[in-house]
């Protein structure tokens, strides 16, 4: 019953999203596209950190690997998007596993350090490998084309992203419900016990890390097509913090949480900007200078606040609100 109701709601939501470009201004569609890309990246980090308990501080760099792969696959190999995007995912997965593998065998902090190293080393490569990445200036990317039909504006690219979002959300849901997903949770909760019960934990950590990085690469590939350029600045540590905040705020280990977290964190900077500009103009000083640090502060506060007060995030709050609503309606 509840399952049917959820499917109904999901279909209604998707129909509304299909109709969205006809209803709202263009700027919103741009925004919805970025949001859709963030959702895929956050799904990836959620599989790693939320479900399997492998903390990655380098997610943005793996997104960057995907974006650069698309840019290069297009300009050097002339690949169409339906080959370039999977290739972006594979490239990011290989990078992720390359950095993660030595420390996946060791518990605790070491993977965190390895992913942080990946963040800085990959970003360094984006900036300094001039011949391939064109350094700080970055690369331009031609829009994706389907059957000779270019996805050259926000609305057309939006539909591509929407399709990917639905596909990758469904895939994540199914992986989590499978044997593999249960193994992920077992690794997170009690790795020793899991091993004794025959779950090959190193293998599943490896799978989770590869899968999460694959999602990151796909998100990066979509981002390259959507922005039509790639540069190193997009993939800094702040973006990794952003993804981590989204996973925590949404609720670690919940697909719904990953979506809610991505929505919340994507909208938040806009609200901050709006609020800060309103406050600034009413007091008559220029507040645009403090926007970036303000964002950092709020990201940090959300991470700390949710971890201490509501570690299961918005998904849990949502569930609680839903239950309240349902009990009231049945009592009446």
């Amino acid at each position: 019953m509840a399952g049917n109701r959820n499917i109904l709601w999901a279909i209604l939501l998707i129909l509304a999203l299909i109709a969205l470009p006809a209803l709202v201004p263009r700027y919103w569609i741009y925004f919805a596209g970025i949001l859709g890309i963030n959702i895929i990246a956050v799904h990836g980090l959620n599989i790693m950190t939320g479900y399997t308990g492998l903390l990655s501080l380098g997610h943005a760099a793996f997104v960057g690997v995907g974006a650069y792969t698309v840019a290069l696959a297009q300009s050097k190999l002339g690949l169409p998007f339906y080959l370039a995007i999977p290739l972006a995912g594979v490239a990011a997965a290989i990078m992720g596993v390359g950095f993660g593998l030595p420390s996946l065998r060791i518990r605790g902090l070491y993977l965190v350090i390895a992913t942080l190293a990946a963040q800085f080393i990959l970003n360094f490569v984006f900036v300094h490998w001039q011949k391939v990445t064109n350094g700080d200036a970055g690369l331009t990317v031609q829009p994706a084309t389907i059957f000779g039909y270019p996805l050259n504006n926000e609305t057309r690219a939006y539909y591509l992203i929407l399709v990917c979002d639905v596909a990758f959300t469904l895939f994540a849901l199914n992986v989590i419900r499978s044997r593999v997903g249960r193994a992920f949770v077992a690794v997170r909760e009690r790795d020793r016990t899991a091993e004794v019960l025959g779950v090959r934990i190193v293998w599943y950590k490896f799978v989770a890390f590869a899968l999460g990085s694959f999602y990151a690469g796909v998100a990066g590939g979509l981002l390259a097509y959507f922005n039509q350029f790639v540069n190193p600045e997009q993939f800094g540590l702040l973006l990794s913090v952003f993804f981590l905040s989204a996973v925590i705020v949404g609720g670690m280990g919940s697909i719904l949480g990953a979506i809610l977290g991505a929505v919340f964190m994507t909208l938040l900077p806009e609200f901050l900007r709006g609020g800060a500009l309103a406050v600034g103009s009413s007091f008559g000083f220029d507040i645009s200078l403090i926007l970036v640090p303000l964002r950092e502060t709020v990201f940090g506060l959300l991470i700390v606040g949710f971890l201490i007060l509501e570690p299961r995030g918005l998904a849990q709050l949502w569930k609680r609100a839903q239950q309240k609503f349902l009990t009231i309606s049945t009592v009446k």
């Binding site: 950190t49 308990g53 903390l55 501080l57 950095f99 030595p102 420390s103 065998r105 060791i106 518990r107 605790g108 902090l109 070491y110 965190v112 350090i113 390895a114 942080l116 190293a117 800085f120 080393i121 360094f124 300094h128 790795d191 020793r192 091993e195 934990i201 190193v202 913090v241 981590l244 905040s245 925590i248 200078l289 403090i290 970036v292 640090p293 303000l294 964002r295 950092e296 502060t297 709020v298 990201f299 940090g300 506060l301 959300l302 991470i303 700390v304 971890l307 201490i308 570690p311």
Partner: protein
């Protein structure tokens, strides 16, 4: 110039920079030892202390001496607030949740400093003389040499203190076995708070030294991420290890920068960290607390 002399000079400068690394690493290691908490906000605590120093010494015109005292008091207060209100509620929670909390705290501090003091570099009153130091014909920049001397003296004093004082013994007891230490009457919470105070002190001194050698900007704290490789090389829980590891990493950083190009300096510590993880994850002096699975 003779390449051997160049090599010796780069080595000396690198080892001198390593002194401050050891100081930063020490603060992180004591916290890790007492509570298995890896403090990713160490760099930001250090950067914030340097801003406290600037504000007390320049804005309130207290001068360097009272500025330093004010900065120390401020840093200790901040560290105790972090420990009490962000980390104590997390006790017993999964390890990655705790790491993420410290990471979030770092983000908060970076943001607040950016909002209050702005992104531009500030002129901090010079507490280190500029005149270069010559050691046996080697030329070492004055500020780096003096910062090294101060850092090494403080690290040495702290290591001795942690080895011989009651507080240091309590710390080691709590690190070895928290529950037994607790039942023997050691105030484990007090020990943890005490390690945060030590981290605040080392962070404050290294922050002010660092701001003197380089400049004072909100990105000053990123140096502490370079120190990760020092901590791993020294062995995560070895207090004495940080000093030698600091020298080695500082030296390698400087020499690789000289040999293959200065831009590579910024990633040398991370490459080293990865290599250490591959070859010897316990570091040089860490006890085998590494759990392979």
């Amino acid at each position: 110039m003779n390449p051997m002399v160049m090599f010796a000079e780069y080595s000396a400068v690198g080892i001198a920079a390593g002194g401050i690394y050891a100081l930063i690493a020490l603060g992180t290691v004591v916290i890790f030892k007492s509570s298995q908490t890896f403090n990713f906000a160490m760099g930001e605590m250090m950067m914030l202390s340097a801003y406290f120093f600037y504000t007390a010494a320049v804005t309130f015109a207290l001068g360097p001496f009272f500025g330093m005292i004010a900065a120390l008091i401020g840093s200790i207060a901040v560290a105790l607030i972090i420990e009490r209100f962000a980390l104590r509620p997390m006790m017993g929670r999964p390890f990655i949740a705790i790491v993420m909390v410290t990471f979030g705290i770092g983000s908060i501090i970076r943001g607040i400093v950016g909002m209050i003091w702005g992104p531009n570099s500030l002129d901090i009153p010079a507490i280190l003389a500029r005149s270069p130091v010559m050691i046996g014909g080697l030329f070492i920049p004055g500020k780096t040499a003096r910062a090294f001397a101060i850092a090494v003296v403080i690290v040495g004093a702290l290591i001795a203190f942690l080895r011989y004082s009651r507080a240091g013994i309590a710390l080691r007891a709590a690190a070895a076995d928290q529950i037994t230490a607790y039942s023997m009457g050691i105030d484990v919470r007090g020990v943890i708070a005490f390690t945060w105070v030590i981290a605040a002190i080392t962070g404050c001194i290294s922050g002010v030294l660092m701001a003197n050698v380089n400049s004072l900007t909100p990105s000053l704290g990123l140096v502490a991420l370079n120190v990760l490789s020092v901590i791993i090389l020294g062995g995560m829980n070895s207090i004495g290890g940080v000093l030698i590891a600091g020298f080695i990493i500082g030296w390698l950083e400087s020499v690789t920068g000289w040999l293959i190009g200065t831009e590579f300096r910024e990633i040398t510590p991370y490459v080293l960290a990865l290599l250490i993880l591959l070859i010897r994850p316990t570091g040089l002096f860490g006890t085998a607390e590494i759990e392979r699975i």
